[in-house]
């Protein structure tokens, strides 16, 4: 197994009009680890995710994924090369059932190809059932099986977040990137998600977590990168980051609220569960 980082970002810059959303950001995501990306609002975290996954075009810089330059791929190629991501505003398919939502996580289904749908119906049907079975297994794993036939719109907010995680698992991608999975969730749901993320790492995947929630990040991440105004200002283990003066500066000199770093459980070495 290689020790090369699975994802390398070099001098990545993104501009929106006159605004520099990302300013020569460089970052390595190590394999089989949970890397968190934090920073105040507007720091560029989601932009970085978007630039890496093809949803926004960088003005400069490169993105190397598993040795391949993917700086300019279209968004629907990301899964093809082995990377999948969620979105900040859920983007759950509200009028589809829970099972249908997760089913769509499986790309390249024969039942989606018209030629196979009509010319090899029996084989297609068998493949479809196998995929549904895999979907059911994932739903059981994340705890949504009892809601399998409910419409996604009928789920609570926390359940919908879980649904996006399940859908991402279905892609079987090696690199999974989560954009604010913890936003708006109460504590038990947070830990449920955190546990799932660590399980994925234990299975051999790599997870990138973008979030505001310090509880989640400090408890479960192996390594944290801090962004501010589109630049990397700190990097290290949760302990290191928590006591880094530039980070404290950014987070505490302004506010009094929930971005305060708690003196919580120790940072996520593989034992955390």
């Amino acid at each position: 197994m290689t020790t090369e980082p699975i994802l390398s970002v070099r001098d990545l810059s993104v501009r929106f009009g006159g605004l520099k959303a990302l300013d020569r950001v460089s970052l390595d995501v190590p394999r089989q680890r949970l890397t968190a990306l934090i920073g105040p609002n507007g720091a560029g975290k989601s932009t970085l995710l978007n630039a890496v996954s093809g949803f926004c075009r960088p003005a400069a810089g490169t993105v190397i994924f598993r040795g391949q330059d993917i700086s300019r791929i279209p968004p629907h190629h990301a899964v093809r090369v082995g990377m999948a991501r969620t979105f900040q505003d859920l983007e759950v398919m509200q009028r589809l059932t829970v099972t249908e939502n997760v089913l769509l996580g499986y790309g390249n289904q024969p039942a989606e190809r018209l030629t196979r749908l009509f010319f090899t119906p029996l084989r297609t049907r068998r493949a479809h059932r196998a995929t549904v079975q895999k979907t059911v297994d994932i739903l059981a794993r994340v705890g949504l099986l009892d809601r399998a036939d409910s419409l996604a719109s009928e789920l609570s907010y926390g359940e919908q977040k879980l649904l996006t995680v399940a859908r991402l698992l279905a892609t079987d991608a090696e690199l999974l990137m989560f954009d604010e999975p913890g936003a708006g969730l109460p504590a038990e749901n947070l830990h449920q998600i955190g546990t799932l993320l660590r399980e994925m790492v234990a299975e051999g995947r790599t997870v990138v977590l973008v979030d505001h929630n310090m509880d989640l990040v400090m408890s479960y991440a192996d390594e944290i990168t801090v962004l501010h105004h589109g630049q990397v200002i700190a990097r290290g283990t949760p302990q290191e980051v928590r006591s880094d003066p530039s980070v404290i500066d950014v987070y505490f000199s302004r506010s009094k609220d929930s971005t305060a770093v708690p003196a919580g459980p120790e940072g996520g070495e593989d034992g955390a569960a």
Binding site: S53, F55, P74, P75, H76, H77, A78, V79, R80, A84, R85, T86, F87, E91, V92, M93, Q94, R95, L96, T97, T99, E100, L103, L104, G105, G107, N108, Q109, A111, E112, R113, L114, L117, F118, H128, R129, V132, Q133, V136, D137, A140, R141, L145, A148, D149, R167, T171, E199, E203
Partner: protein, 311 residues
Amino acid sequence: MTYALTLLTFFCIAIILAMSLNLVMGYTGRVSVAHGGFMAVGAYGTAWFAINAEMNLVWAMLVGAAVAGVVGWIFGAATARISGDEFILASFALQMVLIEMISRWASVTRGTYGLSGIPRPVLFGQRLSDVESFAAFVVVVTLLCGAFVLRLGHSTFGLALRGVRESERSMQALGRNTTSLKAVAFVIASCLAGIAGGLQASMVSFIHPDNFGVMVSIIVIAYLLVGGLGSMLGAALGAVMLLSIPEVIAATDWIPTNLLGPLERVLYGLALILFVWLRPQGLLPERPILNVARMRRRGLVTIPDPQEVTR
């Protein structure tokens, strides 16, 4: 009997139109008012090949549908990045462009004089000139198209289209080329509209650009609204229901014939606003493509043991 069979063929044509538009509007979630235009392309394409190239109408219809499909492909792909609201306008522009082109290209289409002499198909050596045999032909074609579209809708392909409707970004993040999906849906819908046009052309043997105006497009949308956007059976139901109204009115004698047209359209308008106001989801609901509980009962999937789940 002749009257009933004639009515049946019109119902069938309307059903094909409704179910095909449902693929674009109900499934993919894009409102298109260009369906009349595609029907026209199919009708005139069929007519041209049947008359000038002396093709058997069956082949002429396929060619006409193919032409409609090509137009649909170009349009569907070119407009894939357009947002919903502007897509309506673009489809409107396309509708007008198609009808205007047909009206002005008189050397080929005989423009506003209308085109007559469209033959009936010849099957197994017989020309289907009588009402009964042509009606049977139309019903068979409709069943084939209906079965095709139903299968399409009830598959993962249909699910993918719905996925694009619900969240295009997610579908892209899940590896789907959404531009391609939208274009394919549009092509299929246009081809089927073309087939409906071909059937109409052969049925009445005379076509005129006014037969395919934007009003037709809106009427098809009304079929979908009444029957239930997103449900293929609903589309068929809506078509049958709405088409029955003018027949019922025409059957009662107390409306002067010159007012039948406007009155019919007033009723379509009323149906449209009543359904949008009172029951926007239409009569039949959209059905998921699968039901896990049912699959379990039929032994097609098994629920994993809780202990086995943690891999």
